[in-house]
């Protein structure tokens, strides 16, 4: 016979773990800045493209996050932060460029030099 606490623990364990719903520092985090100007420049679609591309390519150790701070300038700005804290900033990002960042930087660990800020 299991105690109530044990049953509770089992239920918690079997619950879908939406790990990306809690900020996870063991994952590579892709921050998309969301200012008024960045929204006009297509930041929502860039953010969605990152999330969809990570899912399509079955990458579970990276997550796309909306940056809760305004950016300077009028372009879509993106920070890629590795678990060790290493950060690369990209500027002028479009959905097409987002796919390349996933392919080259996230999967193959090669910074896309031409998009760097």
């Amino acid at each position: 016979m299991k105690t109530l606490e044990e049953l509770k623990a089992i239920r918690e364990k079997n619950k879908p773990q939406l790990y990306f719903r809690k900020e996870n520092h063991d994952a590579t985090r892709i921050f998309v800045y969301m200012s008024t100007a960045a929204i006009d420049a297509g930041a929502r679609d860039v953010l969605m493209t990152f999330a969809n591309t990570l899912a399509d390519k079955n990458i579970l150790d990276a997550v796309a996050i909306q940056k809760g701070a305004p950016s300077e300038g009028n372009d879509v700005k993106v920070d890629v932060v590795k678990p060790d804290g290493e950060t690369v900033t990209y500027i002028g990002i479009t959905p097409e460029k987002a796919v390349r960042i996933v392919d080259e930087h996230i999967i193959n660990n090669n910074v896309v030099a031409e998009f760097k800020a």
Binding site: Y19, F20, R21, K22, M34, M48, A55
Partner: protein, 187 residues
């Protein structure tokens, strides 16, 4: 012209910057009055009444030196062009609520845009924030609460997969909202 869904993203971004942990978005349409009322409220750091009043004026920002803050004046102008208005109520440590009234039959009414994409991205790409999204049209309504999504997600785990599930769910609800209303008018 910038659509309503991008304006919602812009106002919500202010709430996120204000360290909100729970953000409520409601959109209520009334065919009889020909109105759309958008309300976004948060539990963020809030503003003094003076700051709140200034927030809807051109280029005001509470973040020194950064170019946020022209979202609200823009949306205010868009509401007023349709004959509507924007109202802000706020108190320090209590949060902020922004209400936007649009007259939907006015030729200056902005397009609705992809609201479901905005809501899905907000829920899935803000790990520390919970959202309640409520929509109504005449007597029909639905709610999505990010704290209670297990039924919708059905065990789906990836971020992109969850965005897709949420978008599909919201599209289905939206169809009921509009579809049923049209058949009522026909009878």
């Amino acid at each position: 012209m910038r659509d309503l869904s991008l304006n919602v993203l812009d106002i919500v971004q202010n709430s996120i910057t204000a360290k909100a942990r729970l953000i409520e978005i409601s959109i209520n349409e009334c065919s009889e009055d020909k109105t759309l009322l958008l309300r976004i409220s948060d539990d963020g750091i809030g503003m003094t009444p003076e700051q709140a009043q200034l927030a809807a004026e051109t280029h005001y920002t509470t973040q020194n030196g950064e170019n946020s803050g022209y979202g609200l004046p823009l949306i205010k102008a868009l509401t007023e062009k349709t004959g509507g208005k924007l109202e802000i109520s706020s108190a320090p440590q209590k949060g902020t609520a922004v209400s936007c009234l649009f007259y939907t039959e006015n030729p200056y009414m902005i397009p609705f845009g992809d609201m479901n994409a905005t809501v899905a991205v907000l829920i899935c790409c803000n790990p520390e924030v919970e959202f309640i999204y409520q929509r109504s049209r005449n007597e029909k309504s639905y709610v999505l609460d990010s704290r209670h999504m297990d039924d919708i997600l059905g065990g789906c785990l990836t971020q992109g997969g969850v965005i897709k599930r949420i978008t599909e769910y919201l599209t289905g609800q939206e169809n009921i909202l509009y579809g049923g209303a049209i058949s009522n008018e026909n009878t």
